[in-house]
Symmetry: C2
Subunit: 114 residues, 2 copies
Amino acid sequence: MRSEFDEKWLSQLRKGFLELCVLVLLEQRKSSYGFELSQLLEQANLGITEGTLYPLLNRMHKNGWLDSSWETPTEKGHPRRIYKLSKTGRKQLPAMLEAYLNHHSSLLTLKEMS
Amino acid sequence: MRSEFDEKWLSQLRKGFLELCVLVLLEQRKSSYGFELSQLLEQANLGITEGTLYPLLNRMHKNGWLDSSWETPTEKGHPRRIYKLSKTGRKQLPAMLEAYLNHHSSLLTLKEMS
DNA sequence: CATATTACCTTGTATAACATAGTAATATGC
DNA sequence: GCATATTACTATGTTATACAAGGTAATATG
């Protein structure tokens, strides 16, 4: 079902934003893995498909924002790739959050400009 | 001068967002033109280069979100291309703004998730 | 008359979200 | 025992936007 405005715009709007969401989540939870992150984002009303999330995690790892390791299940279950904030990621997150919030404030300012 | 986080991330974050800013500005001001919009955005701390703004305006016009007309100066000054919200643009803006604000709320939710 | 300012346009590049399709292991129902 | 669902990750191709860089043209100014 298509909403009134162009959905393509929304996927543009989410660029960069989703990475920030993952960083914020990993700051809260210390560590997580793709499938769980996918569910957490879903709960927060930020639906994200696998085709978006997994490449995103790989990218963030390659960029040095995340550390990752494989968790081979002791008895049962599918192996999971665990992610944590790297030292770099932890350091950059506040600056990114600030940049985001500044943009948000600017938009509110525009709305109130007479 | 490079800030601490990757500047490329910031230009990704601005995708879609800048269009929303222009829509909001044109809602406030009834009509404007590229150069003036550029200055208004600059004042709001949303620096935007010409190479971003003019293609963006053309796109929004082509998508039917904006109406445009040339203002040939009566006596002096360079011709200006004037933009206004189109009927479609005016109708879509609230839905876009809502989608944006929902995403913003979701991020704040993530930050407060324990 | 050279420079600054106003004003707009064009081309090429990099990148992220998403669609789509695939792999593989475990769990569940019949 | 076998089909289906669920958990979990990967890979490829398309599309769209921000931005850099460079260009055009008219008016104003010292």
